[in-house]
């Protein structure tokens, strides 16, 4: 017997789905519901929020009180993984930076995301700015799928009729918290629109989705929900699809290559079992990649064959190109009026209660496109570091007796300050359109492999003037809102030297664009159905197909586009030689 042997499984599935997040989960769900035999491969372990969520745990149940030493968003956060994974490195060429977040688990990053569920608008698909690229499809073509996603999964919000912030089919939104009432008032004075949030949380029962509970307002969506009251791909798509008996999940399966035949068609994939480290191959009539934008690009580039010498679906040379994250910059402070505020439970939902959709006319600005603003603050669950700002802030306002206080301190006086300032904090963060540029990309590092022997990614990513100008504008806007609401800023003043607080590429975890769709095979990787130009039975359903994302967090669009692709596959089943 060979020591190194690939164990080939003979069963031929109708479709093999790589990845179980928003894109893979939705494709698997639609196809399994329609009777396809689907095999889903997930690189991480099985994860069921009903059993595995750390929801309703108290801070003292973590020895580090929820500090972010191991999990980047703290011990209770639902994402297994982070910007660094043991034994799975990546790099960036000198002078560039990209931080790559990977969640390895059933449902991927959807277990911990902010559930902020925004549709891209008509101008996001067909931009009018003369700078950013247009999609081969329009909002009207995607709208029916957004509608279906709203009905299937559930999203709260309000009908506003804004031009490029399309309304959905909404459940009732949660009412604002106290800090948010101050924000609304301040933002209005500063000329910034604020509307109720849009979140994938069941504030009302959703009849179409059996087995899901409604929100009980613990504010902990980031930990994933034991009653499936919010959207995770694990709870809302993959686990229900498994119940059809048409979808099988193999977890701890790290896919190595997409296998192709002499004609260049996909025949299946090979993977390594991350537990027993044995090699396997599985067969499928179709291969659907939803491994995340960069991981799917890596997989394609690593799948070289006689028919696809430059990597699968890469005759254009564009796999990995046009990588783009969102921009992000933030500010925090506190509202002196709220010192010594009354205590009550204002946990609310774990998604946003209010937000600011992009509100300005770009003709007067020095950057294209825009950003939205998310807000925070209030009487949240104590956690590691949550009062670190108080010994700074206590020197910025008079004490309870009206006298100026010295910053810092100790003893009963400081203990009272912690009580006094708790819940008076306020924060805001911008999330904006970063340009999809050909020169920002990931590629295979010619020198390095990961612990499974799979060649790893090397990134080239630099912010341009457009993103920096946007971050500067964010800081100016935040300062103006803070001022109008009577808040005092406690975060550092970010100037040109820090690119106005602009976060490193990848830090907002909205990466997309690496397998862009288009009508011309020379300038795009996929056609408008997210089907590879070079390989008709290969599809990509994560954020790779995005030509150019708007300032709208991309999950809702991934879901709508993946559903659209899956329905296209069902329509084309004869042409694709499927049952």
């Amino acid at each position: 017997m060979n020591l190194f042997e690939i164990q080939a499984k003979e069963e031929v599935y109708d479709a093999i789905v790589v990845g179980s997040g928003a894109g893979g989960g939705m494709a698997g769900y639609v196809l399994a519901k329609a009777g396809f035999k689907v095999l889903m491969l997930e690189a991480g372990p099985f994860f069921d929020p009903a059993k595995d969520a750390l929801q309703l745990r108290w801070p003292w149940e973590s020895p580090r009180r929820g500090a972010s030493t191991i999990r980047p968003f703290g011990d209770f956060d639902a994402a297994y993984g982070g910007w660094q994974l043991d034994g799975e490195p990546y790099s960036a060429v000198e002078g560039t930076d990209f931080q790559w977040f990977r969640a390895r688990m059933l449902g991927g990053r959807t277990n911990h995301w902010g559930r902020i569920s925004l549709r891209m608008g008509p101008d996001d698909f067909k931009p009018k700015d003369g700078i950013t690229d247009e999609w081969p499809i329009t909002y009207d073509e995607v709208k029916p799928f957004y509608d279906k996603v709203d009905r299937l999964i559930g999203v709260y919000g309000t009908v506003e009729g804004l031009p490029n912030e399309p309304d959905g089919i909404f459940l009732k939104p949660p009412k604002p918290r106290l800090n948010e009432l101050f924000i609304k008032k301040g933002a209005k004075k500063a000329g910034v629109t604020v509307i109720p949030g849009r979140g994938a949380v069941l504030t009302e029962a959703l009849p179409e989705m059996n087995g899901r509970g409604t929100c009980f307002y613990c504010g902990q969506c980031g930990r994933s929900c034991k009653v499936y009251g919010d959207f995770s791909s694990s709870s809302c798509l993959v686990i229900p699809a498994m119940k059809t008996n048409n979808l099988k999940v193999i977890d701890n399966a790290m896919v190595r290559e997409v296998l192709t035949n002499d004609e260049g068609l996909a025949t299946g994939v090979s993977y390594v079992d991350t537990k027993d480290l044995k090699e396997y191959s599985v067969k499928g009539k179709l291969v659907i990649l939803g491994a995340s934008a960069c991981e799917s690009a890596r997989l394609l580039l690593n799948s070289k064959s006689k028919a696809h010498p430059g990597g699968l679906a890469n005759s254009s040379g564009l796999v990995g190109r046009y990588l783009h994250d969102s921009t992000g910059s933030s500010m925090s402070g506190f509202i002196p009026t709220l010192l010594d505020r009354k205590r009550y439970n204002e946990d609310g939902t774990g998604s946003v209660h209010i937000y600011s959709p992009w509100w300005l006319d770009n003709s007067k600005l020095n950057f294209p496109r825009g950003y939205h603003i998310e807000y925070g603050g209030g009487l949240h669950m104590p956690g590691y570091g949550f009062l670190d700002w108080v010994p700074v802030a206590n020197g910025l306002v008079p004490g309870k007796d009206g006298q100026k206080k010295e910053q810092g301190g100790y003893g009963t006086s400081l203990k009272n300050d912690y009580r006094r300032f708790y819940g008076a904090n306020v924060g805001m963060a911008g999330r904006g359109t970063a340009l999809a540029r050909k020169d920002n990309y990931c590629e295979i590092d010619p020198m390095k492999v990961d612990k499974y022997g799979i060649p790893v990614l090397r990134f080239h990513y630099k912010w341009g003037n457009e993103e920096i100008a946007q971050a500067k504008h964010m800081q100016e806007t935040f300062r103006s809102i803070m001022h109008e609401m009577g808040a005092i800023i406690t975060s550092p003043t970010y100037g040109a030297d820090t690119l106005y607080g602009l976060e490193a590429p990848g830090k907002i975890i909205h990466e997309g664009g690496t397998t862009r769709m288009g009508n011309d095979p020379n300038t795009s990787v996929l056609n408008k159905w997210s089907q590879a130009h070079d390989c008709k039975n290969l599809f990509v359903v994560d954020a790779g197909p995005f030509v150019q994302q708007g300032d709208k967090n991309l999950t809702w669009s991934i879901l709508a586009l993946s559903m659209r692709t899956a329905e296209y596959i069902l329509e084309q089943r004869n042409k694709l030689n499927l049952s």
Binding site: A50, D52, L54, G66, A67, Y217, D347, Y418
Partner: protein
């Protein structure tokens, strides 16, 4: 599924059995913070990955601070958060044990903490010819006063200021995330409920009306 069913499921869920009961009980002050911490260290909660649990257990078995350092940390923590009418002190909430864990968890804290404690002892020896813990309360507070106020501290005290700021943050983190501290600060959430907007009396207090609550 309506809200009542949701809560029923939550209460009946076999994993995390008694979760709802646990969640609805107010934390019992003063007695069980240490017990809870020990419990959290000992058993692996569902959803915690094996390598995380192994790391926690390993860190908990290691010992970094000497007895003298722990004694100094305890005195300092209780100076920062003393017992008062509302709640117990930092050491009542086992803050020194938490700090011992955190410097192993975040090793960048090891040198600033060890060196800062030494720096403080050197100051105490120079001024009072004693280690910090052996100084009387008045002497201890005189030393702390020199490093507790960043803006008025003398330039030669700045290393002490940096140490004390770290010590203060660790103490506040440890205290206000303990059962005693969470009760003290008045956090009223982490229980299943219904959010119906800002309560009427609070709206009125800040000049808002029911219309703003919509």
């Amino acid at each position: 599924m309506n809200r009542r069913d949701t809560l029923k499921i939550l209460g009946l869920t076999t994993v995390g059995s008694g979760l709802l009961v646990e969640a609805c009980q107010q934390p019992a002050a003063d007695k069980s913070a240490a017990e809870a911490t020990t419990k959290a260290m000992g058993k692996k909660l569902p959803g915690v990955q094996d390598f995380e649990h192994e790391r926690n257990t390993k860190l908990n078995e290691e010992r970094f601070f000497s007895d003298h350092e722990m004694a100094t940390i305890t005195v300092l923590a209780d100076i920062i958060i003393p017992k008062d009418d509302i709640s117990g002190s930092a050491s009542d909430a086992k803050v020194p044990d938490f700090i011992e864990f955190m410097v192993k968890d975040i090793p960048e804290y090891k040198i600033p903490m060890r060196g800062g404690l030494k720096w403080l002892d050197v100051q105490a020896l120079k001024r009072f010819d004693k280690n910090f813990v052996d100084c009387d309360e008045k002497q201890q507070l005189a030393l702390v006063d020199d490093i507790a106020y960043p803006q008025k501290a003398k330039p030669e005290m700045q290393q002490g200021v940096a140490f004390f700021s770290l010590m203060r943050n660790l103490t506040a983190s440890g205290f206000f995330t303990s059962e005693i501290g969470v009760k003290d600060i008045g956090y009223a959430g982490n229980i299943p409920g219904y959010w119906d907007g800002v309560p009427a009396d609070v709206l009125a207090q800040y000049g808002f009306t029911e219309k703003d609550n919509a």
